[in-house]
Amino acid sequence: MSVLIVLALMALLAGAGFAPIAARFGRVQASQTAAAALVAALALLAPLVPEAMSGQVVVASWSWLPEWGLDLAFRFDGLSLLFALLILGIGLLIVLYASYYLPVSDRMGRFLGLLLVFAAGMLGIVLSENILLLLVFWEITSVTSFLLIAYKYEAHDARIAARMALAVTGGGGLAMLAGFLLLGHIAGSFELSDILARGAQIRAHPLYAPTLLLILLGAFTKSAQFPLHFWLPNAMAAPTPVSAYLHSATMVKAGVFLIARLHPALAGTELWFGLVSSVGAATFVYGAYVALLKHDFKGLLAYSTISHLGLITLLFGLDTPLSVVAGVFHIINHAIFKASLFMAAGIIDHECGTRDMRRINGLFKYMPYTATLGIVAAGAMAGVPLLNGFLSKEMFFAETIEHPHFGIHTWVLPVFATIAGMLSVAYSTRFIHDVFFNGEPINLPRSPHEPPRWMRFPVEILVLLCVAVGIAPQLSVGPLLDAAAGAALLGKLPHFELAVWHGFSLPLVMSFVALAAGIVYYVNRRFLFELHERYLPDLQSPVAFERVYQAMTAVAGKVMALVDSGAPRRYLAPLLVFAIALGLWAYWSAHLTGVSLALAGTAAGAPAGPVVQALALAGLAALAAGCLGVVACHRQRLLAIIFMSVVGLVVSMTFVLLSAPDLALTQISVEVVTIVVMLLALRFLPARAEAAEPRGRRLRDMALAGLAGGGVAALSYAMLTRPFETISNFYLANAVPGGGGANAVNVILVDFRGFDTLGEITVLAMAALGAHALVSGLRLSPYAGSASREADRHPIMLAMLVRPLLPLALAVSLYILLRGHNLPGGGFIAGLVTSVALILQYIACGIDFGRARLPLDQPRLIAAGLAIAGATGAASWLFGAPFLTSAHGHVHLPLIGDVELASAMLFDLGVYLVVVGGTLLVLTELGALSRRELGAEGPTQEPVSQKPATREPASWS
């Protein structure tokens, strides 16, 4: 049963994946997919509803990172049920609404995908049992709300608004992470069930205050509490369906949800009361005051949202059982009327083309039906009797009377509440009066009329709910409220009665006073606007945030400039000096403590005959010539490359001489491709670097390099002459019985240390793809002899010679691949040989010639190689063995001989493919670079297919 919780989340995520795909077939299909996902999530949670309604908690838990206390633990109780209904139910209405609101040119794939991921994040928050998991979902909502607010990313203000929302809510999320870690530390568990049960222990802990502050910071930023509210009005840059969703039922409700959720663990102290109620109260009044001043009706709704969130926070801060009930009740009511108001506002915006209430007037005449819906919803917002807002507001008024915290000054809270209520009435009145009455529309971009039938439908549903709850509260939401508030109070639900008429009482008087005073306040608004303009013009502008933000980016830029000077040698030189100094210091301090300073150790050198000695000396001489040649000619790059190849050759020979045939083969083939890469690049760089560097710097660098080189030589010599112990006897002893191969190096690569090799080919693949990404699309003009001057770019002799070579070379590489397990060879070497063979064809005959005959998609080749290697490893799971366990057996093939058919062979095939794909990708990309430049300069290119047998003019160089 409990697995259904996870399935519901999965349904939303699956919908997020499928909706963009469905969008390719049409908007209707996309909307249907998204709606299906939301309905599926509702249906999956439905079987759990009876338990949640009866006050039970369903918990489902899977171990994830147990050592960090992070489990995939989910819970479903009354509070989760309430929020799941709001998230999924209003989500459904939003999907329907958005398909009418968004322009037809918008395919909606991105919108619906993001919306569903966001909904999944929200649902995850309310369904989490583990608070660290809750935080993961919390961050998902932060990121997706960023993307949703910036949905119209071409608009500058949308980007700014999204950035601000992310910075504020993301920052709050970080604070909350710290708070959660502290909370987990105090409670000894990250599971909500444990935390909620240990409230007394948590509140008595010395770390209670910082914990509470950090967690509340997270909740307050998310729920836009004063003074961290400023991101919310700016977030109105989002499309209205997003605003309607984020700012009624979801995003901003996450903060108050968290307060409700952790209420049993954290509430009940002076600190909680002082902090939560004062922040809530300030937000309540501030939002209500500013809302009236907004000429943009979406801005008015945004500030009213802030105000109502403040009210909910205040109710949780008052911290009596009944105020918690009222808070939960107002969460429901606010979600319903605010979603409908936002959607109605979107319709008006859509029909009028503006949101300025100084121009939009008298719409009742043009769209009476929508106007009625908007008026009813705004009435609910104002707290007019017989609508849902009235009930929760009256519960609030009742709670303010004789609150235990105010002692003899019992009048303070009720008076405050009445004033705040008056402000709410005032802005609601403005919304109704300005938009629907108050004369005629002024200069509207479009002539307003009723929207399409189904665009209004979501508003109708919600307004109907407003009325239903307002008239028959116990019947409509009574049981749900009991379950949700019960969960927030851990089952200690106080007695209360949901009824429209409680008799003639003080709260009722307060309600009517607020209504009357609010209308009076609104009537005198011009006077108030003037006062505001004169004294507080900057009250709601987020200038401070921008200033802080800009200052922080400037500081970050300065720090970066300090750390990263842009020239590697600036930080390499000090590093070198330091390393040399460290080496010398270690040497001298060892000397001072009496350790022998002799570099040569006691181990006998390798027995080497005079021939080997002579060869080695000759090699050293060649190496010296090569190295010094590179250094001397590094400004004449072509020469330097030639010297470079000498060095590579000597290194390969060293491997031959010192019993490393595999290395020698690898080195020599890598050498070929490296030199080709360098030559290809040389075309686009001046063959000679321009100005010589100052002599002083060159001398200094020479001294540094010489010292470092001497140190490395000394260390190597010391190492080589020291006694030697190895762990390799295991590999030598087990290569044949365990790995089924006689070539110990290859067996280590593909079997014993196969996981390392998998990592290494992944790195190679990434490097190749990275180089591909860097060069693709790049246009460079060549330096060395221009293309048109190179008359004979594919010499016919070379082409004729090379073509018959290809099958031979491929046969050799296949042979090397197959024999690799027993004799020098294997995937790496075979891959390089194949690459060299193909490159030779490209050089001799042109890239088009090669591509026309052997169409290779290198990235796919790389992917196939990695997939094969990975699948080989994963296949051993099927046999109950760990990743990359190999199995082997010998097969005798005609001509080739005894072939090891181990699963490791398949792995080696993966290596082979990655190497071929990687090297060819880089080389063809660099080759294509010069072809692009040719195409731009415009020598005529003949189609390849016309004369396949002769030399192609289309070239590769």
Binding site: A567, Q613, A689, M702, G709, F724, S728
Partner: protein, 109 residues
């Protein structure tokens, strides 16, 4: 023999480092290539220098040198190719974006 190899490694390191300290991207590519030779040789030499003892468990080969450093170096060689290719691509890209083949280096110290 040990002395010769150690000298070779030292030479490669010195030349590689000198080139890495140059201002042009292409010299740095050369330098890093030389340095990777040096590093590969040090790694390889940690298995000590033995002639005529390939790590092949076949008839006719009596002695076997240490296969582990060889396995490490083999992949290192291939990866250093990947790195060189990436660096070259980076140098070309930088050239394409900034029109220069050197590092952004305002202050000639």
């Amino acid at each position: 023999m040990e002395l010769i190899v150690a000298a070779g490694i030292g030479l490669l390191t010195a030349c590689g480092l000198y080139l890495v300290l140059r201002a042009e991207t292409f010299s740095v590519v050369f330098g890093l290539t030389l340095l990777s030779y040096a590093v590969n040789l040090v790694l390889f030499a940690s298995g000590r220098l033995v002639a005529n003892a390939p790590p092949l468990l076949i008839e006719g080969v009596a002695r076997h040198t240490d296969p582990l450093p060889q396995a490490l170096v083999l992949t290192a060689i291939v990866i250093s190719f990947g790195m060189t290719a990436y660096l070259v691509a980076l140098a070309l890209r930088a050239k394409g974006e900034s029109g220069r083949d050197g590092f952004d280096d305002g202050d000639p110290t």
